[in-house]
Amino acid sequence: MHELGITQSLVEIAERAARDQGAQRVLTLTVEIGELAGVVPDAVMFCFEACSRGTLLEGSQLQIRHIPGLAHCAGCDTKVSIEPMTIACPVCGSFALERRQGEELRLLELEIE
């Protein structure tokens, strides 16, 4: 459940940014979570309600954008879709996969009032 700590930092970052702008409350947050980031989006959703209570984020809507996993395979020189537990290239079977996308874990934007 490291999602709890990650959600706490999400709330911390968002609240600081909102406060800096003199916001009274946050309406929505858009977060990017890559499929390879090792973070379960549903668990973040679950923690968010508890973590946002008593902050400017209370009652706000958390929108999660899922970023699919992509890697470059040095074996067959192709860009391939991968999942968190993929260890071999789905095309040629080589293990020389270099992750190119899917490890994102970022707060993108806030809608504030």
């Binding site: 930092s9 970052i13 702008q21 916001a23 020389a96 970022r106 707060l107 009032e113």
Partner: protein, 240 residues
């Protein structure tokens, strides 16, 4: 007290001068704070010429015994300090301290991993100028600690032969993040169906650069190679 990490109570000012809805672009990494503190730890450790290792594994792989044995055998030549992470109890720190090496226990409570903030404060208990190698024994968990940089030079993943050879492919994130894998308790191999060759193959599939050592803290087999690995890693931190 803590000016680096801002853990002093936040000042809650409220401004009520805005009514309209606006969109703010943030683009901040959610692990940015941990990464920032980890970078500060790394710089702090480097300033003292410390080699720092983050030991990760499942519960019961033998990390604490490996530490005890290592400290007992090497402490005359190398200055150590140990940070122990567990949800609860100070048993591990007490065991480690019994070897005479400074040890401090961090209890994570509900937390499933150590983070850079805990480690930054944990080392305040040590005189870093008297230390060559800082060993951090993470919470026994092969999932969560993979995401949290502590400022270490390397992660060392400990896997015991009683766990099954497929751990590296079951928990690829951790074995990908590690620099060294220690296969522990090899004195038990005659009693188990553990397939060593398969384990090494799985580990290299996940992480082609992973170094692998086999050892037993009970029989002592393979410990010399581990000690040589430590001395070599320390020498790299302190070029002559």
């Amino acid at each position: 007290m803590c000016t680096d990490c801002g853990c002093a109570p936040a000042q809650h000012e409220h401004r009520h001068d805005s009514g309209s809805v606006r969109t703010l672009r943030i683009e901040e990494d959610l692990l940015a704070k941990n990464d920032r503190l980890a970078a500060a730890n790394r710089a702090h450790f480097a300033a003292h010429g410390l080699l720092t290792l983050n030991l990760v594994s499942s519960p019961g792989s033998g990390k604490t015994t490996l530490l005890e044995r290592t400290l007992t055998d090497l402490q005359k030549r190398i200055g150590f300090a140990v940070l122990e992470g567990d949800q609860q109890t100070s048993n591990d720190a007490e065991m480690t301290a019994a070897t005479g090496v400074p040890a401090h226990q961090i209890n994570t409570g509900a937390g499933c991993h150590l983070d850079a903030h805990m480690v930054g404060h944990g080392v305040e208990h040590f005189d870093l100028d008297k230390i060559d190698i800082l060993l951090i024994e993470n919470v026994g968990n092969l999932v969560c600690p993979a995401a949290f940089d502590l400022g270490e030079d390397a992660k060392v993943a400990v896997l015991s032969v009683t766990e099954g050879e497929d751990k590296p492919v079951k928990y690829p994130q951790m074995f990908r993040a590690a620099s060294l894998m220690i296969i522990n308790k090899i004195d038990l191999l005659p009693y188990l169906d553990f397939d060593m060759a398969k384990c090494r193959t799985y580990a290299r599939q996940v992480n082609p650069d992973l170094e692998i050592l086999e050892l037993s803290c009970r029989s002592g087999e393979g410990l010399d190679a581990w000690y040589a690995w430590l001395e070599n890693a320390l020498a790299k931190k302190r070029p002559a």
